[in-house]
């Protein structure tokens, strides 16, 4: 087995998961400059809705791909409804408020989502019934499953689609205009409220897909799972340059690979003095290093003036 190659694969897959979550994070940030703390929890809701659908249909005559489609559909409907409602109720009224006010409502929303989920799905760790039997392949000494390949390709495809959408379509153009200057965009005849709502719709839909992928890949769901995911995705988004779709992708992949390599090699590099327990330290050090050299992330444009 080629250990290095395997670690690279591990990192890229973990990175793909971070990237899918970070895409939604970064879209919301791009358009209203809000660190949407509740985004991780929307991913959690998506995962748990998918869990419910899968558990209900597992063992029935329904073929696996259909179950997954149903799960994806249900998760997307629930997450999109939630995302748009949260924006309408908790963020929109605060659009002109001091910058940190919506951050606090986002934290409040995150807590609300968590404990609503605790009431609905209990506080137990939920195991996903085996719907897919992943096939293993060995490529150049590294083991990959078809699910891993799928997650990686999906992350790339979503990023490409999103990038195309923002760059080429009318709504995408309106999104970019709103991002640059909300007031002027409004003067130009863009319905800013609709565009922002639409951004939350897409971001939450992405969160639903991310949730499905996470629960499919790890087979485990929990009402608190969104917290760590959101945190890592936020880190990834900033690493790449927050607000940039390709930045989220690059940041996610980089974070995943750094984590895998740190876990795998810190011990050997330090002669056993430090171990895999320092993984996150290295991940954050890389982040600090990148930001010191490039204060607005790997793909960030000029430094934001929103500070």
């Amino acid at each position: 087995m080629d250990v290095f190659l395997q670690q690279l694969v591990n990192g890229l897959i973990l990175g793909s998961i971070y990237a899918i979550v970070a895409l939604g994070y970064t879209m919301v940030y791009g358009i209203i400059g809000l660190i949407n703390f509740a985004h991780g929890d929307i991913v959690m809701v998506g995962a748990l809705v998918a869990w419910t659908v899968c558990t209900a249909l597992a063992g029935s005559a329904v073929p696996a791909p259909l179950i997954l489609l149903a799960a994806a559909g249900a998760a997307m409907v629930v997450c999109m409804t939630l995302g748009v409602s949260i924006e309408r109720v908790a963020y929109r009224p605060l659009r002109r408020a001091p910058r940190l006010a919506p951050l606090i409502t986002a934290i409040g929303m995150s807590i609300l989502l968590q404990y609503s989920a605790a009431l609905i799905w209990s506080k137990q760790y939920l195991a996903l019934p085996a719907i897919l039997q992943p096939t293993m392949y060995t490529v150049a000494g590294a083991t990959v499953t078809d699910l891993q390949v799928f997650i990686f390709l999906l992350a790339c495809a979503l990023m490409a689609a999103l990038a195309w959408f923002i760059k080429r379509t009318r709504i995408g153009k309106a999104m970019r205009a709103t991002e640059q200057n909300r007031d002027v965009a409004g003067l130009m005849g863009i319905d800013v409220n609709r565009i922002i709502a639409f951004t939350f719709l897409v971001g939450s839909g992405l969160a639903a897909i991310a949730g499905l992928m996470v629960i499919l890949y790890y087979g485990i769901g929990h009402y608190f799972m969104g917290f760590m995911l959101g945190l890592k995705a936020f880190t990834a988004a900033v690493l790449g340059g927050i607000g940039k779709v390709n930045g989220a992708m690059l940041g996610g992949m980089l974070l995943g690979v750094v984590e895998a390599l740190a876990s795998g090699y810190i011990g050997d590099l330090t002669g056993g003095w430090l171990g895999s327990n320092y993984r996150d330290v290295f991940a954050f050090l890389v982040l600090v290093l990148v930001l010191v050299l490039r204060p607005s992330g790997l793909i960030g444009g000029p430094v934001s003036e929103r500070a």
Binding site: A97, L100, A101, Y115, P295, A307
Partner: protein
């Protein structure tokens, strides 16, 4: 405080005396009415007042979003615990350790501040968040290969604050009053919290305070006016950290035990909520925010049993209900008072112009 008293000197003195007397008898009043639990909650609230005021210097005055503030609390707590416990069998006095903790925290503040000077807004937020996590991970893992912090096991049997044979961990009777540890610590915490308030108020009105506010409002303009933004920003980090360091030392002595579990990201977020919710930049608002967010989750513990009384049965798991109410309270308070419960005057003005 000045808001209450207006400008009349006699009224001012009366209000001042009133507040002083109220604060002096508060623990006994609370003990007699609400029970000793609430005295302890008041103690904890005072610690959070110090923390929130410290973070307020960084976030409220200088406008630098810090999501890893609890790290300074940890530095203060661990420096106290390591040097006043059986861990290394060193038992230094708090008179040495509290200033030391403040100094160490300030050093860490500068260490954090230095590489982040060029960063703005949310980029700064994630780096400070990472810094907080790095400190916690080190505290959790510095038990191998050489044991320094005891790792996840934490440090036990930390010395209480004591001076000349009087230890705050013992109960003393003074006439009709019994001073249990929670009472004695109250007065120590109160003194430190009051000192923090005075320092904060004085800072706000000082040259440095105005420089911070100038940076918060517009860094480029501040630089153009001749403010050395680098030094002034570093000073904000160092000053803010000092408050956290002292609070950490007090916390370690009060609890008698600390472990890395007390210094998580959630704790940083909670302190930030206190600052923002109370009214960023306004000392009175921040104190209010700290008191409110310490008391609210505790008060909400009584909601669970109320279900029983109102509906005759428990409909929602009380602990979940409590957190739901807390989340809802955060959202609602921000919706109704976007600038905080007691906003600073400058903020208020900004909001008024922005809404036009």
């Amino acid at each position: 405080m000045t808001v209450l008293a207006g400008n009349h000197p006699g009224l001012k003195r009366l209000a001042f005396t009133g507040v002083a007397v109220a604060l002096a008898v508060l623990p006994f009043l609370v003990d007699a009415t609400l029970g000793r639990t609430w005295v302890r909650i008041v103690d904890v609230a005072l610690l959070y007042v110090m923390l929130a005021l410290g973070l307020n210097i960084v976030v409220g005055f200088a406008g630098l979003l810090d999501l890893g503030y609890i790290a300074f609390f940890a530095v203060g707590a661990y420096s106290y615990a390591l040097l006043a416990s059986p861990q290394f069998d060193i038992h230094a006095s708090f008179l040495v350790l509290l200033p030391l903790g403040a100094f160490l925290a300030a050093v860490f503040g500068v260490l954090l501040g230095a590489p982040t000077l060029r960063l703005r807004g949310d980029y700064l937020a994630i780096v400070t968040l990472g810094f907080g996590e790095i400190i916690r991970i080190f505290l959790n893992n510095l038990n191998r290969p050489v044991n320094i912090t005891n790792g996840p096991l934490g440090i036990t049997l930390i010395d209480p604050i004591s001076l000349g044979g009087i230890s705050l961990s013992k109960t003393y009777a003074l006439g009709p009053l019994t001073f249990s540890p929670v009472h004695s610590y109250y007065y120590v915490f109160l003194l430190c919290a009051l000192a923090s308030i005075v320092i904060s108020v004085r800072l706000e009105d000082s040259r440095i305070g105005r420089a911070w506010i100038a940076i918060r409002e517009d860094e480029q303009a501040a630089k153009a006016m001749g403010i050395n933004t680098r030094d002034v920003k570093l000073l904000a980090f160092a000053m803010g950290a000092t408050f956290g360091g002292v609070a950490g030392g007090l916390f370690a002595s009060f609890q008698g035990f600390i472990s890395p579990e007390s210094f998580t990201l959630l704790d940083s977020i909670m302190v930030l909520c206190m600052v923002v919710l109370g009214g960023m930049g306004n000392v009175g608002g921040v104190v209010l925010g700290a008191a409110l967010l310490t008391a609210l989750p505790e008060a909400l513990r009584y909601v669970g049993p109320l279900q029983q009384a109102w509906f005759g049965q428990v409909l929602v798991d009380p602990s979940d209900l409590r957190m739901l109410m807390f989340g809802l309270a955060l959202v609602l308070m921000m919706l109704f008072r976007p600038a905080g419960l007691w906003p600073s005057k400058i903020r208020k003005r900004e909001l008024a112009t922005a809404a036009e």
